[in-house]
């Protein structure tokens, strides 16, 4: 049976990172839950990814204009960054502050934006919104570069409120009016990008944020009931004070770290799954003066996060699926070798084209990750890797099964695999199907070379079948 401390640690590392090998999970469990949470929350306490090595082995990662190369570097970081929560927060913000390469057309700008999320994603929310509002890629993506004092473009002004901070509404009320959108857009007039060179024939050069006071509407404005000659920064300050912002951020965190929620457009009318959890996160937001790290601490140390009901309560996103598997089986970890490009393309095949979300509203999460095409990709990818019994992480699992004794009953074998592959929660009927399959092949032994060969084969096969279950699609 699964050790409860190990199962809880596996849960934490799946959510606050991209999973881990069995040995890492057990080591962290021995170190203690709260200590591990603090490590995750304080990335500088952990060694950084070895950038020198990474850039030496992949010189192309350095300031690449090609989007595929930047996605590849990011997936490499997801698998290898010892500061796992940093990388997870970069993904969290990328899924909310959506900007996509389809319009930006510069891999380097996309990577700069992700790097900003990585570096500041656990900081102060007010600071993060300012960085977002001065991100050249975002200013261009949402047409703020087209917004002028005499001709306002409302795109950024609207999405800042609707998708990046307040949300349309909560508790059936609206959080802002159409007039607020217009004012918000006016406050951001003049927030633009230094001339971006056309990409050809020499490739894009880095963009710079530029504020042009002459192009800014400096008139008096009333925004969310407050009147003044507001500029973009004042808008951020007012936004951060709103209960709607606390609610919106809390629900996003819950959806990303705890359990799948209803889609964002339903949040105005549909109350949170766990009102007390959301209230605790909202309180952490205000008590700390908008510190994201404080909200995360509240979340990871709470009972609602640790509860059994939160385990495997989210459908894993493709990025979590791919990076998580690599970390579990020990492939493309540490060692830098060919093949990482193909791995980095996998999330796209599973419906998550990283750095290129379908729209500013981002990907639809939860069960919407799954369709008949993406499910085949997920199952085949997972079973391909979990079935490779010579990969270090897989071999380690087989060694542990071997160590359970000279003979293993089919039931003990199935339960051992379920536990080792990731402390999975499988339904009774799934377990029953697997046990019946194992029973047909009989008791497992590993005394002779021939028995050891068959033992290894059956372990690989059972891991593959577990990878194909519906339950394995969750995280």
């Amino acid at each position: 049976m699964t050790d409860q401390n190990v199962a809880l640690m596996a849960h934490l590392l799946r959510r606050a990172g991209f999973g881990a090998s069995r040995a890492e999970i057990e080591a962290k469990a021995a170190q203690g839950y709260d200590a591990t949470v603090e490590e995750l929350l304080n990335p500088e306490s952990q060694p950084a990814i070895e950038e020198d090595l990474m850039y030496r082995c992949h010189p192309a990662y350095n300031h690449s204009g090609a989007i595929q190369v930047n996605v590849q570097e990011w997936v490499y970081r997801m698998i290898n960054n010892p500061r796992q929560l940093q990388e997870k927060m970069a993904l969290f913000w990328h899924m909310i502050f959506c900007a996509g390469h389809s319009k930006i057309d510069s891999g380097e700008e996309m990577a700069r934006m992700i790097a900003m999320f990585r570096e500041h994603g656990m900081g102060n929310f007010r600071d993060l919104l300012m960085r977002l509002s001065t991100s050249p890629a975002m200013m261009y993506y949402l047409d703020n570069t087209e917004s002028h004092r005499v001709a306002i473009n409302e795109n950024y002004g609207r999405e800042l409120l609707e998708l990046f901070s307040l949300g349309v509404g909560k508790d059936e009320d609206f959080n802002y009016s159409e007039a607020d959108v217009k004012v918000c857009a006016r406050a951001y007039s003049g927030w633009s990008v230094a001339p971006a060179y056309p990409p050809f024939p020499y490739g894009r050069s880095p963009w710079e944020f530029r504020y042009d006071p002459a192009d800014h509407d400096d008139s008096e404005k009333t925004f969310l009931g407050e009147t003044g000659r507001w500029n973009g920064e004042d808008i951020v300050n007012i936004i951060c004070k709103q209960p709607g912002t606390a609610r919106f951020l809390s629900r996003h965190m819950y959806n990303f770290f705890v359990a799948d929620e209803v889609p964002v457009p339903s949040w105005r009318m549909t109350p949170p799954k766990d009102k007390a959890a959301i209230a605790a996160l909202e309180k952490a937001y205000f008590d700390s003066g908008y510190e994201i790290r404080a909200m995360l601490r509240t979340l990871f140390t709470s009972d609602f996060f640790k509860a059994d009901s939160a385990r495997f309560a989210r459908v894993a996103s493709p990025a979590e699926m791919v990076a998580g598997l690599m970390r579990t089986v020990g492939e493309h970890r540490g060692e830098i070798k060919p093949g990482i490009f193909q791995i980095s393309e996998e999330p796209k095949y599973m419906g998550m084209d990283l750095m290129n979300p379908p729209t500013v509203e981002g990907w639809h999460t939860g069960h919407e990750w799954i369709d008949s095409g993406t499910l085949v990709e997920r199952i085949n990818f997972a079973s391909e890797y979990l079935g490779q019994t010579d990969l270090p992480g897989v071999k380690a699992l087989i060694d542990r099964l071997t160590a359970q004794g000279p003979r293993l009953s089919p039931e003990a074998f199935v339960d051992g695999c379920i536990d080792l592959v990731g402390c999975l929660n499988v339904t009774g009927s799934t377990r029953q199907s697997l046990v019946e399959h194992a029973q047909r092949q009989g008791e497992l032994r590993h005394g002779t070379d021939a028995e050891r060969g068959e033992f290894t084969r059956r372990c690989g096969e059972m891991f593959q079948m577990l990878a194909s279950t519906g339950e394995f699609q969750f995280c």
Partner: protein, 379 residues
Amino acid sequence: MASAKKDNVFAVLSLSGGNDGLNTVIPYTNGLYRDYRPHLGIPADKVIPINEELAFHPAMAPLKTFWDEGKLAIFLGIGYPHPSYSHFRSMDIWHTCEPVQVGVDGWLGRAIQEIDPKADNVLTGVNFGRGLPRALAKAGVPVASVGDLETYGLLTDIEGQDQRSQALDVFARMYGPTVGTGYALSYIRQTGIDALKGADILATAPGKYTSNATYSKSTVGGYMKNIAQTHLANFGTKILYTTSPYNGFDTHANEAVLHNNLWTDVSNNVRTFFDDLRGHNASDNVLLFMFSEFGRRISDNGSGTDHGAAGVAFAVGEHVKGGIYGTYPSLQPSEQEEGGNLKHNLDFRSVYATILEDWLGLSSAPIIGGRFDPVKFLN
């Protein structure tokens, strides 16, 4: 008059990367073409003339045979207003028919939903290639996406025929209906059963197929063959889709060689594809459409061409009324699209409208986001 029939099949070959229309259908007698293409202009004695003004690229001889048969429609100056020069965005626009807002659903995803509203056949739409193109994406519309038809299926990494079929047996049982598992898991299990069903059916296609046709070993050759195999297996598939290797047509450099190779490959395989279908008496209900997300810059850059605007597209089929649709965009500087590009005069949605209305028998406006004058290129 074209009449949409229930068993009509629509196939797409997407030419990814931005095909150089100017060197595909070449205005070979136009002096401006010579001026703008000092390095990449195809000499007049090498082209394959269509008429006094236009000619095919020399590599397109196999495609020209369809022209001679009167079964090739050439769409000139095809594009949309306010062109995007980004591969991704422009391809999205062709996929979603949403040139202003960023759209989520694909036009063929919507079409599949209209053809098979209850998703009775999990193979109404089939894509060949990894990952689903946006054109086929629509929530609730199952579309199989096949990387390799010869090995397509679930748990393909399990070695040994017996082991794999046992594993699939277990899979079918694990995904069988169970009570009280929650919405998401039930949904995933239903999807898994659909996928397994689709894979089981598709896996029989190569075995059913006998043919003397020789497709090339290229990606396009492989997938055109897979499209033929799937069509000939009579699974009721109505929409078949594939994409040439990603961004292959993005010929910024070394275009003279690359473009020649690309069109040799495409032309040969399209010819082989129709010969294959004709050999099986199965070409009558097939319409093939080829397009690219944009054309390329009028001036060459010494070795290649950069991203442009209007381009060319083609339709091939027994019911195609061979001919030229749209007009060749002017090369005159005053009549160019901003940035030295060709200006479109034929909206791609007009061609889609005809395909939807006259071939698939669907109402086009809800699918392509409004009314567009159809281009009457079907008999």
